[in-house]
Symmetry: C2
Subunit: 147 residues, 2 copies
C-alpha cells in the first residue's frame, strides 16, 4: 500500500473509531488503488491474494462499515430486489436514501440534461436516467418524532 493511502486509511479509522486491522487495510486498498465499481465478491477475491484466510463475511461487514462511515459509497441508492416499472411515460425517480422507497417524479419537474463534453468513444447512448436522492416525507417525520 502506498504510504499516502496508508496514512489516509489510518486517519479515517481514527476519525471513525475503527480498529485499523490489516484486513480493513487490504479491503480499503483494493477499492481505492484502482478505479472501478466492485462487488463484495470481487473485493474478496482481490484481498484473498494477500490474506488467504480472510472470510467473505469480513469483507461484507467492513464494506458496510466503510459505507456507513462515509469512507465509501454504494453505486445504487436503491440496491436490493428487482423492481419493475409499468409507467411508460418519460419520468424520473425520487429515491429515499433511508428507506429506499421509489416514487415517480414528473419529467417536467427537472430541466433537460445537456451533453457538454464527449462520451467515451464507442458508447452508444440510449437515455439519461435521473434519480433524485433524499429523505422522504415519512422518514423525515419518523426522524422528527424521535427528538
Amino acid at each position: 500500500m502506498r504510504r499516502e493511502t496508508y496514512n489516509e486509511f489510518r486517519r479515517l479509522c481514527q476519525e471513525h473509531s475503527l480498529a485499523a486491522t490489516h484486513q480493513r487495510q487490504k479491503i480499503y486498498e483494493a477499492l481505492v488503488s484502482r478505479p472501478g465499481h466492485y462487488s463484495p465478491e470481487e473485493i474478496y477475491e482481490q484481498v484473498k491474494q494477500d490474506l488467504p484466510s480472510i472470510s467473505l463475511a469480513t469483507v461484507y461487514k467492513n464494506l458496510k462499515t466503510f459505507v456507513h462511515a462515509g469512507m465509501l459509497r454504494e453505486v445504487s441508492p436503491h440496491h436490493g430486489s428487482w423492481r419493475i416499472d409499468a409507467n411508460h411515460h418519460p419520468h424520473h425517480h425520487l429515491v429515499c436514501t433511508r428507506c429506499r422507497s421509489i416514487t415517480d417524479l414528473d419529467f417536467d419537474s427537472l430541466g433537460p440534461v445537456k451533453l457538454r463534453g464527449k462520451l467515451p468513444s464507442g458508447f452508444r447512448l440510449e437515455k439519461f436516467t435521473i434519480e433524485v436522492q433524499g429523505i422522504c416525507k415519512a422518514c423525515t417525520a419518523a426522524e422528527t418524532k424521535q427528538h
Copy 2:
C-alpha cells in the same frame, strides 16, 4: 381487468408472439392497474389473490419476458450485486444496458440539472444522480462481429 387494459394486453401479446395466458393477464394487470415499483414477490402476492395456484417462478419468468419485450421496464439498469464506489469526486455513471458494466463519467461532461417544478412536499433533497444508459464499446463490438 378493465376492458381497455385487457385489449392492450392482448395486443401486446400478439405483437410479441406471446400466449395470452390468464397468469400473464393477472401479472400484467397487477403492474399497470396501480402506480408503483414492485418486486416479483409483491406481484406474486397480489396475483395469488386471484390465482391461488400460481407459482413464484411463473411470475419471475413472465416479468423477464415482459421486460425483454419492452412491455415493462426495470427500475435499475444495473440491478444485481451490491457495488461500491471509492471515487469521492462528484461524477456520473455510464451504465451498459447489455452487460451492466458501470464506468465513471466526468461531472463536467453533462450540464447541471435544474429543478423546474416543485418536489413533493416533505421530500428533503440530497442530490441528483445521473446515469447514462447505453451500449458500451465492448458490447457494440461483440454485436457487430455477429453480422
